[in-house]
Amino acid sequence: MTDHHDPDLLLGRLLGPSEPEVACETCFEELDRYVDLELAGRNADAEVPGLRAHLDGCPACHEEYESLKQFAGGGA
């Protein structure tokens, strides 16, 4: 359940990211590239624009990003 106690978090969830963002489908298509760029220490946000904003706005895609980054990065 959503944390209701932080008004900024609640407002962030209601209003979403201000920047242009990709859709869930594009996020899934690009997620492996984005994660490997990050793991290689490169500027993933510059190379895959719109994905970070989507991750900020979509909790489900963000969870999958966190999992992929940790698993592919050998943290499993």
Binding site: M1, T2, H4, D6, P7, D8, L9, L10, L11, G12, R13, L14, L15, G16, P17, S18, E19, P20, E21, V22, A23, C24, E25, T26, F28, L31, D32, R33, V35, D36, E47, P49, G50, L55, D56, G57, C58, P59, A60, H62, E63, E64, S67, L68, Q70, F71, A72, A76
Partner: protein, 239 residues
């Protein structure tokens, strides 16, 4: 293929071009040559390739490890499941992911390692199944409860005045500017914490379509509030 979650992501592109930014609309980068390990994976997974069956078995083992990793991350939310039930879900996710990877082999562009590309299918399949399992016996929260949450935050004396004002304006805009469907989706996802895959299943739609609805609702709210002069510089990480 049963319940292939990747299909639930399908939706028309939702991006509206930003006048100052062309980023998300850039063409994809040129396709690089595959690294040797990825090339070996792709070659060995072709149907008639030598060692095909062994490669498929190795891939499934990797996908199962990824699915079990995802199950482990969500174990606390699924304490009511026996370990064997959790593992059954991981096994099912690995099998579905294997089918998805093999079906999409030609889509692998070599922009990441092959294993990273393949893992994302297993993690998605497992995450969707586990979110749905966690909510399987739960009713959808009623909309009135979301309004109670918003009212409680707005009236909370510990919340700064400008935040209370903004929350009040957001509530008014939700009531007055959004369609009933946009309102229902926004409140369920953003206030009540219903996972998007769960809501998609209950509403017989896709995750992609629901996120498009959420995105449109948010943009409508932002436009309305900005026009009314509100400062919308709020914490944007919503996960």
């Amino acid at each position: 293929m049963r319940d292939v979650s990747t299909a639930s992501l399908q939706v028309e592109p939702m991006l509206e071009p930003h006048p100052d930014q062309h980023g998300p609309l850039q063409p994809p980068p040129p396709q690089p040559e595959l690294d040797p390990v990825s090339r070996a994976w792709v070659a060995s997974l072709r149907p008639a390739a030598p060692g095909h069956d062994e490669a498929v078995a190795r891939l499934r083992a990797l996908l199962l490890r990824a699915a079990r990793f995802e199950a482990g991350r969500r174990r606390d939310a699924l304490r009511f499941l026996r370990p064997s039930e959790l593992d059954d879900i991981a096994e099912e996710a690995a099998s579905d992911a294997l089918l998805a990877v093999l079906a999409h082999l030609d889509d692998f562009r070599g922009l990441s390692r092959f294993t990273t590309w393949a893992y994302k299918f297993a993690l998605l399949e497992a995450a969707v199944k586990l979110r749905r399992r966690a909510w399987q016996d739960r009713e959808m929260p009623v909309e009135a409860a979301a309004w109670d949450v918003l009212a409680a935050r707005t009236d909370d004396p510990s919340v700064a005045v400008e935040r209370s004002d903004l929350l009040r304006a957001v509530q008014a805009a939700i009531e007055e500017q959004l369609t009933p469907h946009q309102r229902r989706v926004l409140l369920a996802l953003a206030v009540q914490g219903v996972p998007i895959d769960v809501l998609a299943e209950r509403l017989s739609t896709t995750r992609g379509a629901l996120y498009k609805t959420l995105h449109d609702a948010r943009r409508k709210l932002r436009r309305e509030l900005a026009a009314a002069g509100y400062d919308l510089d709020v914490g944007e990480e919503v996960s």
